[in-house]
């Protein structure tokens, strides 16, 4: 198969998963400008960070007065799931030039990973199968930039009285709504949420990181425990 047709396959495979990405990008653009970032800043964040939930968390924490270290720590924590994706993808990409690996890393998102890791696994022996990841990644990147711009434009029109900051918790809820049916995830969610309320008044808004850490420790014990019961 030619490079271009594999690229196209990546584009087509990821397309259904981009349906929620566009409104998500628009919401980010609206919130960013509504909450006080300049349009340029809001756009540059989509370009430089290119990770929706991190950008929204960054915006939210910045304007509640969190210390920069806490903001960066939260961004790192949210993005730590990428380590998992990288660990899976590296076996297919480790022979590529450094430039390619940098580009494909930058473009790697939840959606691109979920379609392209599947393709790469099935087409292990094709020398150019990484074009699939380029296709899926670029498609998502392009839509993210465009939808951010639309959001920035709308943010300048939409009146502040609509209370659109409320879309921030709603957006994060929407991202974990699938986990509500799993009892182990529900336990982790409750530990994180309730501890964040209890320790909210600690300095520098450090509650975000501490609560996440507590919840991850809980998840570790749940994993150990489920292994024991399986034996």
């Amino acid at each position: 198969m030619k490079n271009l047709s594999i690229f196209q396959k990546g584009f087509l495979d990821v397309l259904p998963l981009t349906i929620p990405v566009v409104p998500f990008g628009i919401i980010y653009g609206v919130i960013g400008t509504e909450i006080g970032f300049s349009p340029l800043m809001t756009f540059v964040m989509s370009f430089v960070i290119f990770a929706g939930s991190s950008q929204i968390a960054f915006t939210q924490l910045f304007f509640t007065g969190a210390s920069p270290i806490v903001i960066i720590g939260s961004v790192a924590a949210i993005n730590s799931r990428h380590l998992l994706y990288g660990a899976v993808l590296s076996q297919y990409l480790n022979k590529l030039h450094l430039g390619w690996r940098i580009l494909l890393s930058y473009l790697m998102t939840d959606q691109a990973f979920s379609v392209s890791s599947f393709y790469l696994k099935k087409n292990k022996n094709k020398f150019n199968s990484y074009y699939h990841l380029l296709g899926s990644g670029f498609t998502l990147w392009f839509l993210w930039q465009v939808s951010t711009l639309i959001g920035i434009f709308l943010g300048n029109i939409v009146p502040e009285q609509l209370g659109l900051e409320f879309t921030i918790p709603l957006t994060f809820l929407a991202l974990i709504v699938r986990e509500l049916r799993k009892i182990d995830h529900l336990i982790v969610i409750m530990f994180s949420g309730i501890s964040s309320l209890i320790i909210y008044n600690l300095p520098y808004k450090i509650y975000v990181i501490v609560s996440a850490f507590i919840a991850l420790v809980v998840s570790y014990f749940l994993i150990i425990n489920s292994k024991k019961t399986k034996k």
Partner: protein, 104 residues
């Protein structure tokens, strides 16, 4: 200064994407650690969600009949049954607007 922190956030995000792909031996992550990473959204997002829904700007608990809390509960119910991202966000937002309008 804000530009500096945006750039830092960008570099940190990139490194989480790049580090495992750049490593020669990606088996550095133990099986348990890989499993813990699948819980990351469930562990981090509620710490952002809960205070934004249940606390006011001073960090005090809102009363249970606050439009924000009711809108949030409606979004949970809709999300639980439909498992749809956009539907979850908009059901919460629209019911929040209706409650604000209705209660004022």
């Amino acid at each position: 200064m804000i530009w500096f922190w945006i750039l830092t956030a960008g570099i940190v995000t990139f490194l989480t994407r790049f580090s495992m792909i750049a490593l020669i031996n990606p088996n550095l992550l133990s099986d348990n650690l890989k499993k813990v990473l699948t819980y990351v959204p469930s562990a981090v997002f509620p710490a952002i969600i809960f205070p934004a829904v249940f606390l006011d700007k001073k960090g005090l608990m809102l009363s249970i009949d606050n439009p924000q809390i009711l809108g949030f509960l409606i979004a949970i119910i809709v999300g639980y049954f439909f498992k749809n991202i956009i539907l979850t966000i908009f059901s919460g937002l629209i019911s929040y607007w209706m409650l604000v309008f209705w209660l004022s």
